[in-house]
Amino acid sequence: MAKFSKKRGKASPKVSTASLPDIIFMLLFFFMMVTVLRDSTLKVAVNTPEATQLTKLEEKSLVNYIYIGRPTIQYRDLYGTAPRIQLGDKISIVDDIPLFLEQHKVKLPEAKRTQITSSLRVDGEVTMGIVQDVKTKLRKSNQLKINYSAGSRSGKLEN
């Protein structure tokens, strides 16, 4: 008995916390990598529809976003309630799209410019008229890779 307690007393009871900073740093770097600081505040309400045949967009730097939806309540006085287009931080019109695409394009190396995708984040209740105008403008500006942003759906459609 005495022998037993002796041995226990000798062994150091503390867990070494020396590696704790390293572990935390590892987590820190992980989050730093995956973080995308929110760059634009939405001025239009966008509630994307749901779909099943989805593809994941890989490189975020190669994607530009076009939002279409009705202005949120605090911007209604300014922009009305009809669906509007938001490019970056501003409510825009269809004719602003070529400039917006160009501004995104010049930031990228030349080799990657063909892989640019335009992600359309469109509210489900918006009618196709404005979406069609945007699509036509994108085609005219030779930006042909687009992505209809959507959430994933698990349920079935009604017959």
């Binding site: 935390i24 009618t127 979406v131 017959n159």
Partner: protein
């Protein structure tokens, strides 16, 4: 005296105990600001713009699967009304035409899906229709891949295999300029 001197030199390290706290602080900052919002969606390749009207007179009618969506979000598929839930199966049957029916596509690589909507169609409906049509092709590719190579269809497949499947069943989805009958909301 000599002994204390060495001890002093030994203790000349910076105390790293607060390192963890600093790292924690940064970690929490990034945790809060992070949005792991991965963007998913339906990838589409638009046709290049041309001012000429496309010539559709050369197409045989049996090869065209026309889908019309009106401003009331109703579907008209090959001149018959249809619910969205049935669209995928109908499209698959049309493309494959297992019974070699006279009024369906001659071969999967000759089938063309023509989609036309109205300016008043809701985006929700449009995307659901597009999703079903894409789903039909995805499922056909899947069965073809299983039949030929015994593997599920994916982007990781050898390029030659994927190309073989896509030449057998190419996805041809043509979108016509929308009509303008419906109410557009302003």
């Amino acid at each position: 005296m000599a002994k204390t001197k060495t001890r002093d030199r030994m203790n000349n390290e910076i105390n790293a105990g607060s390192m963890a706290d600093i790292a924690f602080l940064l970690l929490i900052f990034f945790l809060v600001t992070t949005t792991i919002a991965e963007d998913k969606g339906i990838l589409v390749k638009l046709p290049p713009w041309s001012d000429e009207e496309p010539d559709i007179t050369k197409l045989k009618e049996r090869n065209v699967f026309s889908v019309l969506v009106n401003a009331q979000n109703d579907l008209l598929v090959r001149d018959e009304p249809m619910k969205i839930g049935r669209l995928r199966e109908a499209a698959k049957e049309f493309i494959r035409n297992p019974q070699r029916l006279e009024n369906m596509s001659e071969a999967p690589n000759k089938a063309i899906i023509s989609l036309k909507n109205d300016r008043g169609t809701e985006y929700d409906t449009y995307l659901a229709v597009y999703n079903e049509l894409k789903g039909a092709y995805d499922e056909l590719w899947e069965t073809e891949a299983q039949k030929r190579y015994g593997t599920p269809y994916s982007e990781d497949m050898p390029f030659a295999q994927r190309k073989a499947i896509k030449t057998e069943i190419p996805m041809v989805l043509s979108e016509a300029e929308p009509t303008n009958f419906g109410e557009e909301d302003n």
